[in-house]
Structures are given as structure tokens and as C-alpha cells.
Amino acid sequence: MAIQAEVDGQLVQWRDSKRYLWLIGSIIPLIPLATWGLYAWTGSGLSWWFGPFFLFVLVPAVDLVAGLDPNNPPDELIESLEGDRYYRWITYAFIPLQIAGLAWAAHLFGGGTLPGIDGPLALVDKIGLAASVGIVAGIGINTAHELGHKKVEHERWFARVALAQTFYGHFYIEHNRGHHARVATPADPASSRLGETLWEFLPRTVSGSLRSAWALEKKRFDRQQKSHWSVRNDLFNAWSFSVLLWGALMIAFGWQILPFLLLQAAVGIWLLETVNYLEHYGMKRRVLESGRPERVNPSHSWNSNNIGTNVLLYHLQRHSDHHANPTRRYQALRDSKDAPVLPTGYAGMIVLALVPSIWRAVMDQRVLDHYDGDLTGTNLHPRVAATYQRRHGAQVAA
């Protein structure tokens, strides 16, 4: 289906080659069902681990085979493309599927059985299922991210529902008003630094983002001269969805499911924060004479045009355009020629990030090249500053 617009008497036409591919994103919340099907078919306990296998083996393989998609909508058609409601319904549909998958898993965590599953799951199987459901939860944060940026009020409420599974409702506050304002500066807990390992970054971003979200809401209420201990505080109303969801599941399937709810939430949060780690690794905005950092531009985010991960993550990898135009809908995000590009899609890069030495070997030189070898231009992690000065400092003169 082509979209068209008339600009200065000229008809501009464009066909979205990914229009129907976006439906593939709905595979993700069906992962729990896939584990059931696989188990009923094979009888193997490995089936419960299908979620991590899908995201960390199958998707990176698809990225390597399916390659790149640099297709951009023309400027003139961005508005009509954004106005096409088909695209937003795909993101809305994710949420009920996500909740249904969690409820289904909670039934199994609580010792339930189903056709094809004769007895209650063993502990190791429940852990595998929690990992698989956690993958859905993490990508649910990505869906919440897409919706939470929109100006339409009901979409912002949908974002809170999608975040309920991980108890990460504060993400929507901190990401929009904290991360986007301070991205690629040392002050942002969610921008990783050159030389910082994933495992150092995780506690810094999780605790820093929570504290920042709290401070942002407190400041908003201070301006109103009201107490921030209020249901109108977006942190509390977002978390209340989690209390409702987890509470209902525990009433239905027993409090014994709580460790598995916690585990799947931890996996989801880990996945989201690992993606955060990839997105701005080593990037720093110059500080202007006024003391403010320069405006965010395409050079401050890592991008990828790998079509596999892009279709699953709603163009999240066109990250530079997202930071330039945060309210722009996913289908209209554009590839930027000025943006640094990752060697493969986010899914494959997550796997590399697990092992810091491999990550450094792949990424550090790319960061330095991006800054023409100038270490002072990067967002350098203080812990490694002296070592990196010795090792890479000479590149400037060369």
C-alpha cells in the first residue's frame, strides 16, 4: 500500500516495504506459548528456555543473514505515515498478549498443569520459563518506550500497563525527562561510558535512574507547592499497576509464584538496561561556553539498520532520529547518514556485551575512531581513565 502527498504540485509516492513486517514484533509476546508448543512436541525441558534462545541465537543469526534495510520514508510523507493508525494498533496489541503470557506462566509457576504438560514443572523448568517470560517483559519495556513518548494521553497510560510486569513504571518518567535531557553526558545514569563494563553499568543505571525519576517527580510537586506523596505522582500511579497485576496473579496462583515473578522482572530489567548500555557507549556531547552540553545530534547514538532486530524492536536502532525527534512514531524513524553504526544488530551486540573483553575489543576502537582518536572527546569512565590515556592517548598526536 503506497502513501502519497502533494508537495508544490508534485505528487510524492512511497511504499513502506516494512508495513506488514511490523506484525512480526507480535511474535515476542507469543514466546511463552511457543515454549508450551515446543515442550508438548519434544518433551524436552530445554523448551522452557526458548525465549533467551530466540533473542540471543535466532535473532542475531537472522540479522547476519537478512542484512540491512536503509529504506527511509521521504520527509514529505512523515506526517501521513505517522497518522496511519494501523501502525499504532500493532503496538497496542502487544500489551494484552504480554499480560496473557505472564498469567499463563504464573499458572505454571504455581504448579498448574495443561494439556501436553502432565505434572507440575520442576524448579529448573520454572527458572527457564521465568527467563523466557523475562525476555518478553524486557521487550515489553521497549513497547512501553514507544508508547510513553507519545503526546496522546491514553498511549502514556498503555505504557504504564506494559511496564507493570517488570515493576519498572518509573522508567517512563526518567527516560523521557531525565535520559533524553542528559543523554551522552557523564551526568546521565543511562548513558554508558567508554571502558565501563556492562556489569558496572547495570547497578549504576538501575539505581541512578530510580533516584533521578524520584527527584524529577518531587521537583514537579515542589513547584506546585504540594507533597509528592500523592496518587498523582506518576511513579506511584505507574507502580500501582504492578501491585495490581502481581497481586492478582498471587491471589490466583499462590504467593509461592513471587520468586519467579521477581526473577522474570529481573531478566526484563537486565535486558532493557543492556540495550541502554549499547545505545550511547562512550558518546559525549561537547560542553559549550555557556556550560550547557551541545544539542543532541545524530553522532551521539549508536545505530543499526539490521532489519531483524529493527522489526522486533520498532526501529529502536534508528536511535539518532529517535533522540532528535522523541515523539516521532516508530514507522517514521529515519536512518541518519551521520550516525555511528554498530557492527551488527542490538540482539547480537547484547551477546557481545556479556563478556567485557570481547565488547572492548569490538567497540573501543570504534568509539575512538568516531572522535578522530581524541580520547578527551569521549565519555570516559573514570576508573579506566589512566589506563586509556596510556594506551590510546598517543592517537591524538598521530
Binding site: K151, R177, H180, A181, Q224, V296, N325, P326, T327
Partner: protein, 55 residues
């Protein structure tokens, strides 16, 4: 009473209406808003970046 627009996402701050949710009651002059207040819609631009569209 003037109106000011975010140059990134076209959010408009109308002095007459203010933005009570953000803590700016109706009638708050744009000049009285914190310089580091970020646009409530996109979060990318701050008070100092806004441009006046109507006075």
C-alpha cells in the same frame, strides 16, 4: 499573555493557561519559568530554547 513553542516538537506553552501539571499555574509568565525546565512532551529542549509565537 504570550505563547511560546518548543522548536523540537511544537508543544506550545500558553501563559494564559500555564501548565498546572508541571507546576506553572495559569498566568505564569514564561520568563518566570526555570531556565532548565524541559519541554514536557519531548524532553529535548529547555525553557531557554523556546521561541515566542504570539504576544
Amino acid at each position: 499573555m504570550s505563547r511560546f513553542i518548543c522548536p523540537n516538537c511544537e508543544y506550545v506553552y500558553d501563559e494564559a493557561a500555564g501548565n498546572p501539571r508541571e507546576g506553572w499555574s495559569a498566568g505564569t509568565a514564561f520568563a518566570d519559568i526555570d531556565a532548565d525546565w524541559t519541554c514536557p512532551d519531548c524532553g529535548v529542549r529547555e525553557q531557554v530554547d523556546f521561541t515566542m509565537i504570539e504576544s
